[in-house]
């Protein structure tokens, strides 16, 4: 019985200690000033990670924000014909979110994340799941409302899954 008490109290004490130490780290959102764009630095540690992830914040502190999409403005060094447009900062319940669209021939070809909540590991985890999905869906939807879809002939079964049906439903 004594060992049980020891194990329980020891575990709780350890958890509280670990969490308290981490709660002193100030939360610096991964931010960039609109238009100028902050520079992307290489990741601070775990350099063997497959996806990029470094971001120099305004205060000079580097945080590794993992993900598979560009973080931070890519407005500099754009190839010819591409322009960057920054969206407004959206203040969500979990923190600010800001997106940058790269357009070419009035078609969105790339999406960069300027700001995303990264205060806790959970934020990062959700962001790593959600952003790639949202971005690919944005690119697929091609910035805007379309009225119809033209594609090779489909059967009624194919129609159900087709984009046309999605449009018809949306109306």
């Amino acid at each position: 019985m004594r060992r049980v008490i020891l194990a329980v109290t020891g575990t709780i004490a350890g958890l509280v200690a670990l969490l308290s130490f981490k709660s002193h780290v100030p939360s610096v959102p991964v931010a960039a000033t609109t238009g100028s764009g902050s520079s992307s630095s290489s990741s601070s540690s775990s350099s063997s990670t497959s996806s990029s992830g470094g971001q120099a914040t305004a205060s000079g502190q580097t945080t590794t924000v993992p993900g598979e999409f560009p973080q931070g403005s890519v407005a500099k060094n754009l190839p010819a014909g591409e322009t960057a447009v920054d969206g407004n900062v959206a203040n969500t319940a979990y923190g600010p979110v800001q997106i940058q669209l790269i357009e070419k021939n009035r078609k969105v070809v790339k999406v960069a994340v300027l700001e995303q909540p990264a205060n806790t590991l959970h934020d990062i985890q959700i962001g790593a799941f959600a952003f790639p999905k949202l971005i690919s869906e944005t690119l697929a939807a091609q910035n805007g409302k379309i009225d119809a879809v033209s594609g090779a002939s489909y059967t009624s079964a194919g129609y159900i899954q087709s984009l046309q049906s999605a449009l018809d439903k949306a109306v």
């Binding site: 078609k107 090779a152 984009l163």
Partner: protein, 237 residues
């Protein structure tokens, strides 16, 4: 004939007089199916094709269709054919033509803006910027491109959805090289037929499409590369 037709009538644009005009358009499409479907033994097309019904006894529209098909066939150097695989089947023209006529029914009923989409080929009517997405044949569910125009038709032929169903009449095989080809023109019947012919040409389509008046083309190759005719850029965005 197994396709699904969607009607899009934006509200407040000179609505067709009552439900009647939409019903009329739908009845028109059913009649086209009954008359022109090669999958129905009792359709005029099937009986004419078997030789059991002389042209004079068929619906007058069939003669009209045959004449138009002959013109397209000549223009396309034989790549458009009404006897694909040896069997009489003018569907390559009828599909677009039926949709174009359905849209005309709505126009006659008073609608100033509407679009009709039959199985992926669209006729847009009205002085409004219609935006039509082109399905990406290599990534189902995604769009490759969006074209926009007024009073125009968009037709796409390809290997997506039903697999290769267009045969190169000279080789008897599906054309290699293109995953899909889209054409934009004024009227769907002609545009659709030209699209079918162009797709059958495979890599030769580009030059031929360039030579067409009043039509622009955009294609996606099986490898994922794209090409477009010189005037196609006007329809982008």
């Amino acid at each position: 004939m197994g396709t699904v037709v969607s009607f899009d009538v934006p509200a407040g644009a000179g609505e067709p007089r009552g439900e009647g005009s939409l019903g009329q358009a739908v009845r028109w499409l059913h009649w086209v199916d009954a008359t022109f479907s090669p999958y129905r033994d009792d359709s005029d097309v099937s009986r004419f094709g078997r030789g059991s019904l002389p042209l004079a006894d068929c619906a007058p529209e069939l003669a009209e269709v045959l004449e138009a098909c002959a013109a397209v066939s000549e223009r396309s150097g034989g790549y458009f054919t009404i006897t694909p695989g040896g069997k009489f089947d003018p569907s390559g023209y009828v599909k677009g033509w039926a949709i174009e006529r359905a849209a005309a029914i709505l126009t006659a009923a008073g609608s100033a803006e509407h679009s009709v989409n039959g199985g992926g080929d669209v006729q847009c009517v009205g002085d409004r910027l219609w935006r039509v997405g082109i399905a990406d044949p290599l990534r189902p569910g995604r769009l490759a491109l969006v074209v926009a125009g007024r009073d125009f038709a968009v037709a796409t032929s390809g290997v997506a959805e039903r697999g290769p169903h267009i045969i190169d009449p000279y080789t008897g095989q599906p054309p290699a090289g293109l995953a899909s080809l889209t054409m934009v023109g004024a009227r769907l019947a002609e545009t659709d037929a030209y699209t079918t012919a162009a797709f059958a040409m495979g890599s030769a389509a580009r030059d031929w499409a360039e030579s067409l008046d009043g039509h622009e083309a955009f294609a996606i190759t099986a490898a994922g590369a794209t090409w477009q005719t010189s005037g196609f850029g006007a329809y982008l965005g």
